[in-house]
């Protein structure tokens, strides 16, 4: 899936002060690309991810997902786009504490059943857990698992509806460097073997360089 932004601009007001999060960002992403976005805190990295992921609306400019222009005023179509095309991975994992591992992976399928029965959904969730190497932890609650395991489950969850695009916001930020590497390897594998488009926000420039194209962002602008 291609991703393209045209003149993407986003600012918001903090009291009377205008904060520019994105300033005319033009980005083109080819089918099956892996992009790492690096930059200091508050440079607009996360905002870029949220706007592309249809969680946030831009002030100006357009986003094209697979060539289709995103209509940010149409709430229903935003929900549909999130369901079908986007999988989110967060820095803080964000698993639902009441649900065990496999149920967490299943959770997005509940909103996007597409005619899949409960057992079919359970089966594909188990397959995804298997893929991230955690099928043995299927019945564990998040409180019983380590940070690395939680992030693997979160990645499996991001894949639940088979999206073309994975948006990962500092997925290794809360992990030690060894665990972080294994998560990056997992993402690389998804990019190579499954052909997923990945946009990752990260601080770990060295690791990112090895596996992806780097985009630097400062004060809402892309530095070339």
């Amino acid at each position: 899936m291609t991703v393209e932004t045209r003149d993407l601009t986003k600012y918001y007001w903090m009291g009377k002060e205008k904060v520019v999060a994105l300033d005319s960002v033009n980005l083109k992403m080819e089918e099956g690309a892996f992009i790492s976005v690096v930059g200091p805190s508050g440079s607009g990295k996360s905002t870029l991810l949220n706007v592309i992921g249809c969680l946030d609306a831009p002030t100006k400019g357009e986003v094209y997902l697979a060539g289709w222009k995103v209509d940010y005023r149409n709430k229903k179509s935003l929900v549909r786009l999130r369901r079908k095309f986007v999988g989110f991975v967060f820095q803080t994992f964000n698993l639902i504490p009441a649900l065990n591992a496999v149920e967490n992976v299943e959770y997005p399928m509940y909103f996007n059943k597409e005619g899949r029965s409960k057992s079919e959904r359970r089966e594909s969730a188990m397959k995804l857990l298997d893929m991230v190497g955690l099928e043995k932890r299927a019945n564990h609650l998040p409180s019983e698992l380590s940070g690395g395991e939680l992030q693997r489950i979160a990645i499996a969850r991001a894949l639940a509806n088979d999206p073309k695009l994975i948006l990962a916001d500092e997925p290794t930020g809360n992990l030690d460097s060894r665990t972080g590497k294994s998560i990056l390897n997992l993402l690389t594998r998804l990019n190579n073997e499954e052909g997923k488009n990945i946009i990752m926000v990260t601080h770990d420039l060295e690791s990112a360089k090895k596996m992806s194209k780097i985009i630097r962002i400062l004060d809402g602008r892309i530095l070339e």
Binding site: D56, F88, I96, Y107, F111, N161
Partner: protein
């Protein structure tokens, strides 16, 4: 749907104490309403039972009809029409008049048939015999008190004959006193009602003496209480006035239902507290799970999906609250019966209290329990609407940012 509720159960399962307290809050409100309503219902049933025990529901009392100033008399043809009605076993007509004995003793006279004695089964002879029906005899039967009075004032006893004056209104309203001779054939035991002050003679004889061709009233006996109302309606259709014990029961029912509604309404105020608890708890829950809501939206949940999740939790709270409320309500009504009955019995005293002593003063019907359950569920859902809407409208980004 099943998945929605199983998810809701899981969420509630994480906060067992909180859910228990909120459910208890609703259940106590429901129980209070059930208890009070069962008391109203119990007293209603008791009152109706007492009326049924002391009144004959198969008897309809008919008198002349009065409408817009015109009077419809009970003539022989009306009597025949009533007798022909379905479910009517027999009709007992009577005429009333007052005669005056020699020493100015006033006698309330009733001309009756043997059917009248079948309806008024408390008319029992102490001595002597009833007059032969249909034969023109001058025999009379005295009520208990009349017999006593005649013995003292007129010095008359069983078998004695005496003369009375019958006052008639002749043509042009001219008064005419007509003498008649009666023989005392029997004396009744005390019946404990107005019959003790009456003198009974054969109806044919009475009509002849009074020169009347209509009846002053009649009792209609039907074969089954269930048909009393329809027969009564038909009698009223003839232009006559009809009463039955069912009228009294209807009045009691109306009154008790009204009282129960008022009491139930005020005890329902405790339900408001329960509802506020639900609102409060759900708002706290939305606040606590803000991040989870944002996450769900990022993962593809629509506003409606989020709303459904919270409302499902409210439904579960309502269902548990309803069941618990019903159980507590039954317990509450038993308690009212145990504690309240001795108090009521001593307060009312006499016959009324003794009547209460036998049965239970509270009655829990399936209808009351179903209403209690429904109140709990509906209340929980309504209380959850605002918090659920609030959850659904959260901006996913703001929600995700919250720590």
């Amino acid at each position: 749907m099943k998945e929605l509720f199983s998810l809701a159960c899981r969420q509630l399962g994480r906060k067992k104490l909180r859910v228990f307290l909120i459910v208890l809050g609703i259940a106590i409100g429901v129980a209070a309403v059930i208890g009070v309503t069962s008391l109203g219902e119990g007293i209603r049933v008791q009152a109706v039972d007492q009326i049924k025990a002391s009144h004959d529901l198969t008897t309809i009392e008919v008198s002349a009809g009065v409408e817009d100033g015109s009077v419809t008399l009970i003539t022989d043809s009306k009597l025949k029409a009533i007798e022909r009605e379905e479910h009517v076993l027999f009709v007992a007509p009577y005429v009333k008049d007052s005669y005056v004995a020699q020493n100015n003793t006033y006698l309330a006279v009733k001309g009756i048939t043997s059917e009248y004695r079948r309806v008024q089964s408390n008319l029992q002879l102490e001595i002597g015999d009833w007059f032969d029906e249909g034969k023109k005899s001058n025999e009379i039967v005295l009520g208990y008190d009349v017999a006593k009075r005649l013995a003292v004032v007129e010095d008359l006893g069983l078998g004695d004959e005496f003369t009375v004056k019958i006052r008639l209104y002749g043509e042009e309203s001219r008064l005419k006193d007509k003498p008649a001779v009666f023989k005392i054939a029997g004396i009744l035991k005390s019946a404990g009602d107005e019959h003790d002050n009456q003198v009974f003679i054969d109806i044919k004889h009475a009509k002849e003496l009074d020169e009347k061709d209509s009846y002053d009233g009649l009792f209609v006996k039907v074969d089954d209480p269930a048909f009393a109302a329809s027969v009564r309606d038909k009698i009223e259709g003839l232009g006559l006035t009809a009463h039955s014990a069912q009228d009294v029961i209807d009045e009691v029912n109306k009154l008790m239902v009204a009282i129960t509604l008022v009491l139930g309404f005020f005890s329902g105020i405790s339900l408001v507290v329960g509802a506020l608890m639900v609102v409060n708890t759900m708002i706290i829950s939305v606040y606590e799970r803000t991040k989870e809501i944002g996450l769900s939206k990022a993962l593809g949940a629509s506003d409606f999906d989020i709303m459904k999740m919270f409302l499902a939790e409210c439904v579960i709270i309502g269902v548990i609250g309803g069941i618990l409320g019903d159980l507590l309500g039954i317990g509450f009504s038993v308690l009212i019966d145990l504690v309240g009955k001795p108090f009521l019995v001593s307060a009312l005293g006499g016959e009324l209290g003794a009547g209460l002593q036998l049965g239970s003063i509270t009655v829990v019907t399936p209808g009351i329990l179903a209403a209690g359950f429904a109140i709990s569920v509906v209340l929980s859902i309504v209380s959850g609407l605002y918090p659920a809407r609030r959850a659904a409208r959260l901006n996913p980004l703001d929600a995700l940012r919250q720590i």
